[in-house]
């Protein structure tokens, strides 16, 4: 009561005690944080960041709009009926030409082939043939002046004189500072400027000097289009006579122009297939829900998400199977592990040590060796079947199918995950004083009552810890199911592995992984609500 009247309690140096205390605590916290900083940093950099990056791929889809920037813009106005306009084909030509020169078009083909069969070869073939068409304009330009087919006249006309002067001093394999366009070119020849800049950027990306390289056909085409619409009579820079003579040619009646739609249809019929264009339009946005829809047996269509054909539905089945089988494996681990853990905790030290070594021994053996050993044991000409036939329990012509199916996966995975169940159970059981059981019995309980009412409730935290460990490990397992699971015993993780390492569809793999992660988190949350995570112990 005197405190109240005399103000806040003061420390020895006169500052309020509360502030001084919190400062000391803060210091402690900072020190603690600094101590764990290396670990924290390590975990974030090597574990969390890569996982986040991988999961991010499940929605990331920038490759389409990056490879076809102009075409995706043009396609935005297309209503999806009939063939797109010539402007779309034109934009696609410019995009694809640049992509093919930089060898990016096949990458996009691979990406789109996940959604629409045939895209892969369509892009590969088109990339090969684009060159043949671009030369129509250059061939005509050359009749005016052969300089159009050389690198230097173009560079002189298109680039800023200061930039060009700097480029001349450069050695081989040196790209120099970023390309600078001649002042006024942007308004005089807008398309040509754009095409030449794209070309120059691509050259510099490969450490080549754009001033030494002949421009792509896209630049010639852009120039022809510019000359048809722009007035170049005001131009006074290098090559002005050449430019004006060419403008006259382009204006004349016998100048041959390119029909982009016809050109694409000539390269490949599939460019006349509206499905191809719908797919490109559908996957134009930088982020897509397509991978997640695929991961739940649906697909993105222009009319919104739709279920896949029944013959192609597989992931729902695999998710359900993975959860169901992981549950069965967890239960069989509890059944087999509980008595062993009890023995470990209650036998005299000498025997229990020996038993402990037996439990741990498989732990120290390679996973592949253990799984392959199960193959030898369980196959139809294997040890188990041989013994059963020898004992006349099973007829020779009806040997049991114990492997390459669900049974095989459950047996092998129960064996492999058993130590993860036994060890937490054991460490909990060790802390249960044997006197409790004796006390229960002395008060008149039968063996069963004493176990069930006194011992078992105290061992539940061990079961909980073991179950969480085993279940979560089981849900993500893939080596064992791949080897012994046949077709009915494989898990969702086998498909994830297939997409990551074999089909290359990382987006779908990431979406499946994200769903699996979400499923585990939901189950963990449910477990916490039902059993309570405080009720889980890994030891004393």
């Amino acid at each position: 009561m005197t405190d109240k009247s005399s103000g806040p309690m003061l420390a020895a140096d006169g500052t309020p005690l509360k502030r001084s205390l919190s400062r000391a605590l803060r210091m402690q916290k900072v020190r603690a944080l600094l101590l764990i900083a290396p670990l924290l940093l390590f975990v974030v950099l090597t574990f969390l960041a890569p996982i986040a990056d991988m999961l991010f791929r499940s929605v990331e889809n920038q490759i389409v709009s990056e490879t076809l920037p102009k075409a995706t813009l043009e396609l935005a106005d297309w209503d999806g009926d009939g063939l797109p306009s010539d402007a779309v084909y034109e934009a696609t030509f410019f995009d694809l030409f640049a992509a093919a020169e930089r060898k990016l078009h096949t990458r996009l083909g691979t990406r789109l082939n996940y959604e629409e069969t045939g895209m892969s070869s369509l892009f590969r073939r088109t990339g090969r043939k684009l060159d043949d068409f671009g030369d129509v304009y250059l061939d005509q330009f050359k009749k005016v002046d052969r300089a159009w087919s050389k690198a230097a006249p173009w560079a002189e006309m298109m680039s800023d004189p200061d930039w060009l002067a700097g480029q001349e001093a450069l050695g081989r394999g040196d790209a120099g500072p970023p390309f600078v366009l001649r002042a006024g070119m942007e308004t005089l020849l807008p398309r040509t400027s754009d095409a030449y800049q794209t070309f120059a950027r691509a050259m510099q990306e490969e450490d080549d000097n754009p001033a030494d390289e002949k421009p792509w056909a896209t630049v010639h085409i852009a120039l022809a289009e510019d000359l048809a619409t722009q007035d170049v009579s005001t131009y006074t820079g290098p090559g002005k006579d050449r430019l004006q003579a060419t403008a006259a040619l382009v204006g004349s009646a016998d100048f041959e122009t390119l029909d982009y739609t016809a050109m694409f249809l000539d390269i490949n019929d599939n460019w006349g297939d509206t499905d191809v264009w719908r797919t490109i339009k559908l996957y134009s946005p930088a982020y897509t829900s397509g991978y997640f829809l695929n991961a739940v047996d649906m697909q993105l269509t222009p009319d919104g998400p739709e279920w896949r054909d029944e013959r192609e539905q597989i992931y729902g089945l695999l998710f359900k199977r993975t959860l169901y089988m992981s549950l069965v494996i967890t239960l069989s681990c509890i059944m087999l592990g509980y008595p062993v853990a009890w023995l470990l905790a209650n036998l005299p030290t000498r025997q229990s040590n020996l038993l402990m070594i037996l439990v741990l021994l498989p732990f120290w053996t390679s996973l592949l060796v253990r799984t392959s050993a199960w193959k030898v044991m369980l196959q139809q000409q294997g040890v188990v079947n041989d013994v059963l036939v020898w004992l006349s329990i099973v007829p020779d012509d009806a040997r049991l199918a114990l492997i390459n199916n669900q049974t095989g996966t459950i047996i092998a995975m129960t064996h492999i995950l058993l130590p993860f169940m036994i060890l937490p159970m054991y460490s909990v059981m060790q802390t249960i004083p044997p006197t409790y059981l004796r006390a229960a019995k002395s008060l008149g309980a039968t063996n069963w009552t004493a176990f069930w009412r006194v011992y078992f409730p105290q061992s539940v935290p061990g079961i909980g810890a073991g179950s969480i460990l085993v279940f979560i490990l089981a849900i993500g397992y893939y080596i064992t199911p791949a080897i012994v699971g046949g077709t009915s015993g494989t898990f969702i993780s086998n498909r994830i592995a297939y997409h990551i390492s074999s089909s290359g569809n990382w987006g779908l793999g990431a979406a499946l992984g994200a769903l699996l992660l979400a499923a585990v988190l939901i189950l963990y949350w449910a477990y916490d609500r039902i059993v309570g995570i405080d009720n889980v112990k890994l030891g004393g």
């Binding site: 096949t106 082939n113 069969t117 013959r311 539905q313 597989i314 294997g382 046949g486 390492s501």
Partner: protein, 371 residues
């Protein structure tokens, strides 16, 4: 394009020539990637040991990651740290790597050795150069092996592909690869589709259903394998009557392990295996990789590999040089998938078709398997 090509070629030439003259501009260690097992051992014996002996101070390390080469190279490329110098891949993967810009484009005539008679490399390899990045090495085949002791009495041993689907004449389990490639073709062949029409039929939904329906007639008797070692093990244990696998694996079951197994060559599917050099290596490492690859794919070296494993050399000029097995001493030519007696009815893996249809048909195939 033409310009870039000539430029590329001339750059490569200067690099190679410069390296050859100076010698010191090549890196002196390299990491080779292959499949492990007997195949990698044959490469080590035929290529790496003589190469290291010729080039003092050069060391080679093996990495057994070819099965995941595409995924790993993609990851390395994204991380900007490619640690492999020469990678052994199947042709389909080489095409994908080339498509994704992860493998170096090769000018086969400039960068590989001519045949002893002066034939250029591209003529010597011929059609086997299925991609600009691919340096062919061997022709292998996926074909069937069967247990000779399990052939029913009074029945001729299986000699044609449709005996795989004939459970009445040849009872017993089969093993097939857990993917649609090859299985779909065989199923259609045995369902009355002419060999030339197989891929036209397989392009359609009905054709795919037809193939799956045919496979469905034996589905309950099939063990689906995913590792090349599975079928040899299943055959050796008598677990299956017949199964598909790579012909080199069957050779080792038959000749090295002396199991009662024989090969049925009918409708064997040829595929190619070869080298690629990853894109984005430093000049020194690239020069070393190209130097090694040029040495390892010359006529003599390719013929030498056949001393250790029964895969056909990819060069035309190597075939006459194929001799006897290094330890068994048997003539290797009759064991080659390309031997005329074995190659009466063959398929060549259709790279273009499967590049397009692989994702789609695989989805259907896996869903069909899981049901």
């Amino acid at each position: 394009m033409k310009l870039t090509k000539t430029l590329l070629a001339s750059t490569a030439l200067t690099v190679v020539a410069g390296a050859a003259m100076a010698g010191g501009h090549m890196s002196d260690s390299m990491t080779l990637v292959s499949w492990g097992g007997a195949y990698q051992a044959s490469q080590d014996n035929a290529y790496v040991v003589p190469y290291v002996a010729m080039n003092e101070g050069v060391s080679a390390t093996w990495d057994e990651s070819s099965a995941e080469a595409v995924a790993k190279l993609r990851a390395m490329n994204e991380a900007g740290n490619v640690t492999w110098d020469v990678v052994d891949v199947v042709a389909a993967d080489a095409i994908r790597l080339c498509d994704e810009g992860l493998a170096l484009e090769i000018d086969h005539d400039e960068q590989l050795a001519d045949a002893p008679d002066g034939t250029s490399a591209s003529d010597d390899f011929g059609d086997l150069i299925v991609s600009d990045c691919f340096i062919p090495q061997i022709v292998y085949s996926t074909t069937f092996g069967y247990r000779t002791d399990l052939v029913p009495e009074g029945v001729a041993p299986p000699s044609e592909i449709c005996s795989v689907f004939d459970l009445e004449t040849y009872p017993g389990k089969r093993s097939l690869e857990r993917r649609p490639i090859n299985n779909m073709e065989w199923a259609l062949l045995c369902d009355g589709v002419a060999k030339d029409d197989v891929y036209d039929v397989l392009e359609t939904d009905e054709g795919q259903d037809q193939a799956l329906a045919k496979l469905g007639t034996i589905k309950d008797s099939v063990i689906w394998w995913s590792a090349g070692a599975d079928t040899p093990q299943l055959l050796a244990d008598g677990e299956i009557f017949m199964g598909s696998t790579y012909n080199g694996r069957l050779f080792s079951v038959i000749e090295e392990q002396n199991q009662p197994v024989a090969i049925m060559w009918d409708a064997q599917v040829f595929d190619l295996d070869g080298w690629i050099v990853p894109a984005g290596l430093s000049d020194e490492r690239e020069a070393r990789a190209l130097d090694f690859v040029s040495f390892a794919t010359d006529t003599q070296r390719l013929a030498d590999q056949a001393k250790y494993i029964s895969y056909g050399p990819a060069r035309l000029s190597s075939a006459p040089l194929v001799s006897t097995h290094a330890t068994l001493g048997i003539e290797m030519a009759p064991h080659m998938p390309t031997d005329p007696a074995n190659a009466k009815n063959t398929f060549l893996y259709n790279y273009e078709f499967w590049a397009d249809y692989r994702d789609d048909i695989d989805a259907k195939f896996q869903a069909w398997l899981a049901q």
